[in-house]
Symmetry: C2
Subunit: 464 residues, 2 copies
Amino acid sequence: QVTFEEISASDFFYRNRDIAGFTNPSRAIFAAIRELVENSLDAAESLKIPPDIYVRLSFEGEASKETQIYKLRVEDNGIGVPPRHIPSAFGQVLFGSKYKLKQQRGTFGLGGKMAILYGQITTHQPACIMSSNGMSRIYMYKLMIDIQKNRPLILDRKVLLNKEQWRGTIVEFCLEGDYLRAMPKILDYFKQTAMVNPYANLTFVDPKGRLYKFTSVTKDMPKPPKETLPHPYGVDVELLQRLIHITPYKNMPEFLINHFHRVGEKTAQKFLTFSNISPSKNPKKLSHEEIVRLMHMLKKFKEFLPPDASCLSPLGEELLKVGIVKELKPEFVAVHQRRPATYAGHPFIIEVGIAYGGEIPKRSAFLIYRFANRIPLLYDEASDVSVRVINDMNWRRYKAAPDMPIAILVHICSTKVPYKTVGKEFIADRPEVRKEIGNGLREVARQLQHFLTRREHVDRERKR
Amino acid sequence: QVTFEEISASDFFYRNRDIAGFTNPSRAIFAAIRELVENSLDAAESLKIPPDIYVRLSFEGEASKETQIYKLRVEDNGIGVPPRHIPSAFGQVLFGSKYKLKQQRGTFGLGGKMAILYGQITTHQPACIMSSNGMSRIYMYKLMIDIQKNRPLILDRKVLLNKEQWRGTIVEFCLEGDYLRAMPKILDYFKQTAMVNPYANLTFVDPKGRLYKFTSVTKDMPKPPKETLPHPYGVDVELLQRLIHITPYKNMPEFLINHFHRVGEKTAQKFLTFSNISPSKNPKKLSHEEIVRLMHMLKKFKEFLPPDASCLSPLGEELLKVGIVKELKPEFVAVHQRRPATYAGHPFIIEVGIAYGGEIPKRSAFLIYRFANRIPLLYDEASDVSVRVINDMNWRRYKAAPDMPIAILVHICSTKVPYKTVGKEFIADRPEVRKEIGNGLREVARQLQHFLTRREHVDRERKR
Ligand SMILES: Nc1ncnc2c1ncn2[C@@H]1O[C@H](COP(=O)(O)OP(=O)(O)OP(=O)(O)O)[C@@H](O)[C@H]1O
Ligand SMILES: Nc1ncnc2c1ncn2[C@@H]1O[C@H](COP(=O)(O)OP(=O)(O)OP(=O)(O)O)[C@@H](O)[C@H]1O
Ligand SMILES: [Mg+2]
Ligand SMILES: [Mg+2]
C-alpha cells in the first residue's frame, strides 16, 4: 500500500544532513564551528566593525570509542539578533536575514540551525542563545528545534540588564564529535579565515585548554557591500511575477528603472523600443505570454550595463597580499583582481594570488587555497572548479611545476556563490567562473615566470 | 536595517535550483527527463511489472540564440497516483511516497516538482498530469506550483471514463532548454538505463522526430525490495524520540523487537542485560539522559545482526552480465556482487563489473559506468567515490592500463544512497562504501588479469 507524506524543511535536512556537510562525527564538529564563525563574521561586518570572535570547544564527557561530547561556545561583537527573531533565527530552518542580493557569507538560512540540530540529535541538550544590540537589555533563550514541524521549542527565556552595554551574540550547545580527527581541519580553518579576514580577531580554545590566537594585523576593512537589484540577464518568469506583484509603478519605464540593476531612463526607453513594448503599459496588466516575451527580451537586449561591484566586497590586491605574506612569508608573491563579471545575472569577482618559496612546503602538488566570500573551503578540493582550472593549465610554459614550493590562492566573491553543495564545500564548474579564474591565474603565473627566470639568471651568474 | 524572512522549501530550491541539478539550459533538459523517467521506473516496479516508458520531447518554438521551447511528455504503465494526492505529488516540494526505508530511485520528494518548477519559470505554462490505477476513472489535473507558498495551484481538473482500463501516469509540460547540447547525455542516459534495467521497455522520440527504442531483453525482474525497520547502529536521539512517541509497546523488549531491524527476543534480552536497562521499563517513561544512554548502548552492543538484504534489490550477477554484454559485446566480462554492508546503519550492496575488448573503445582512460539504485550517474565523474577508488588502484599488477579497451561498472544499491548532492550526481566518499568498491573491483580485476595473461600466452604461442 503506497502511503504519501509531506515532510518539513528541517526534517529534510535532518534526514539528509550529510548533504548539508554534517557527514560524520569529525566533519560535524568542523561544520558546526565554521557555520557559527561565519555567522559571527557576517554579524560584525554588517556593523562595519572589526570582528572579535571567541570560540571555545570544551570536553564534556565520553560518548563512544571514537567520539566525545563537547560544548561549543561562540561569542561575537556583532550586530546581535532582535529578541523577537531569536527563536526562528536559531530554531527554524530556512529563516534568516541573508536572502538578499548582497555579498555575505550566509545565504541559505540553514547553517546555524544545522549545527544546533546536530547537537540536539546527538546529545538531547538545548542550545543557549544570548544576544544584545548594545542597548539596555540582554536576551537569553534556551531552545530546541521541533524537527518534524520546523519550529523552535522555547524552553526558557530571560531578560537581563545589560550593565556593561555589551553588544553581540553568544551561541552555546553540546554536540558529539571526533575532535582529534577534526583538529587539523579546524586549525586550518582558523588560519585561513585569519588570512583573508586580516582585520578580524579570532580566539580558539580547544578541549585541551590550548589557546590559539589570531590577532588582526590591520584596522582596514574592505568597503562593505550594498544590497542591489536583480540584473536583467538573470530574470525568469517567477522573478518577474514577484516584481509585478509588489510593484507600485504603473508604467514600464518606472518598473524597469526601479526594479532592475543599473537601468536608467535612457536604457529603459531604448529597451522598450527594442522589444516593442508600450511604455504606458501597466506591468500588472501584462498577460502570461507578454511576461514570457518580456523575459526573453530582457535577456536578448544587448545594451544593459554590466553589473557594478557595489554589491560586492572583494578583498583587494593589497589585503590579499598582506594575508599571503603573513601566512606564508614567501620569497615572491603576485596578486591580481579581475574586473566584475556575471554568471546567470549574478555579479562576481575573482581574485587570485600565487606565491613561491619562503615557508611554503615542497610537496608533490601545488598548495591550493580556495575561498568564497572570504570563507575558506577545505574539503572536496578535487571537485572544485579552481582545481580543475589549475590542473588544466600548462604550468611548464611558466617554468613552474607542482613539485616546487608554490602556493596558489583563488577567491570568488559574489551575491550568489555557485556552491555545488548545501554544505558549501566547493564551487561548481560554471563556464563564466572557469574563464575568469583561468585568466586571473595566467596573469599571476606570468609574473611568477618572470621571477623564476630572473632567479635562474642570478643563479647562473653566481655559479660563474 | 536588518530584515528577517522565512522562505518555503520550494522557494529554497527555486533559488538554489543549480544545487538540485538544474544548472543551465542543457543540463535542465537532462535533469527533467531523468527525474520523470526515474519516477516511472519506480512506479512500475512497485507493481512488480516490467516498465513501459514512453518519452517524447517535441519542439515548440525558439526562445533565445541557444535555447528553444520544448514540450516534454513522459508516459508509463506504473501504479498511478491516487487523485487526491496528484496535486501535492506534483505541486508540493518535499511531498512523496518514498520517505521509507526501502530501496527506490526516488528519495527526496523533490525531483518531479523541480522539473515542473523549471518548466514553469521558463515558459509560464502549467503542467498536465493524467493518472489512473486501471479502474474505471482517469484523473487529469492542470497545475502550477505556488513557489512562495509551496503548494499546488489547480487550474483544471477532469475525471474521464477509463474505457480501455489504462493504468499509469502521464506527465506533460513545457520547458526552455538547449537540446542540442544535452542530446549526447540524454541518449547516454537511456542507453545506460536500459543496460541496468534490461526488463524495461523505453522509447524516446526526440525533437527531430527520431525514434530511439530500447526493447527489454528479459522478463526477469530482480526480487523487489521490502520496507524495513531502522538498524540499531544508525540511531540518533531524534529517531528514538519519534519511535517512543508512536510506539504502542509498554516494555523495552517489545519496543526493541518491533521497531528495529532483525532484533529478536534473545538479542533484545541480551542487549537489555548488557546495557543494564530494566526490561519492564516503559519506553515512554525514559528520561532525556536515559534516551541518550540508550542511543550510545545501541551503538556499542556488538551482537546486533548485520542488516539483511530484504530491503535491497540488487541487479544480481546474471542480470548485470546480460546488460554489459548487450551494450558492449566484450571479449571478456567479469561481474561480482558483494555481501550486504552498512554505513551509518544503512544497508548497501556493491556490484561491480569489468569488461575488455569487443565494442569498448580504446581511449586514454577507462570507460566508467556508475549506477546507484539502477540510476545511471552521468555527471561529475571525477568527484565520485568509485572513480577515486579506480584511480587509487594499482592496475599494473592486474596487467591492465587505462589506454586499453576496458570498461568498469560500479553499482551501489541502498536504502539511502550516499549522494553528495540533491541533484544525485555522484556518490560521497564514505569509508565503508569505498572499502566495498575496492574489494569488489580487486576481485574482478583479478579475473581480468587471468584473461589477459591467458591471451598473452595464446598470442605468444601463435607467434611461434
Ligand atoms: N552570531 C550572529 N549574530 C547575528 N545574527 C546572527 C548570528 N547568527 C545567526 N544570526 C542570524 O540568524 C540567521 C540564520 O542564520 P543561519 O546560519 O541559520 O543562516 P544564514 O547565515 O542566513 O545562511 P547560511 O545557511 O548560508 O549560513 C542569520 O541570517 C542571521 O540573521
Ligand atoms: N510516474 C509516476 N507514477 C506514480 N507515482 C508518481 C509518478 N511520478 C511521481 N509520483 C509520485 O509523486 C511523488 C513525488 O515524486 P518526486 O519525483 O517529486 O519525488 P520522489 O520521487 O519521491 O523523490 P526524488 O526527489 O528523489 O525523485 C513520488 O514519491 C510518487 O509517489
Ligand atoms: Mg549562517
Ligand atoms: Mg522522483
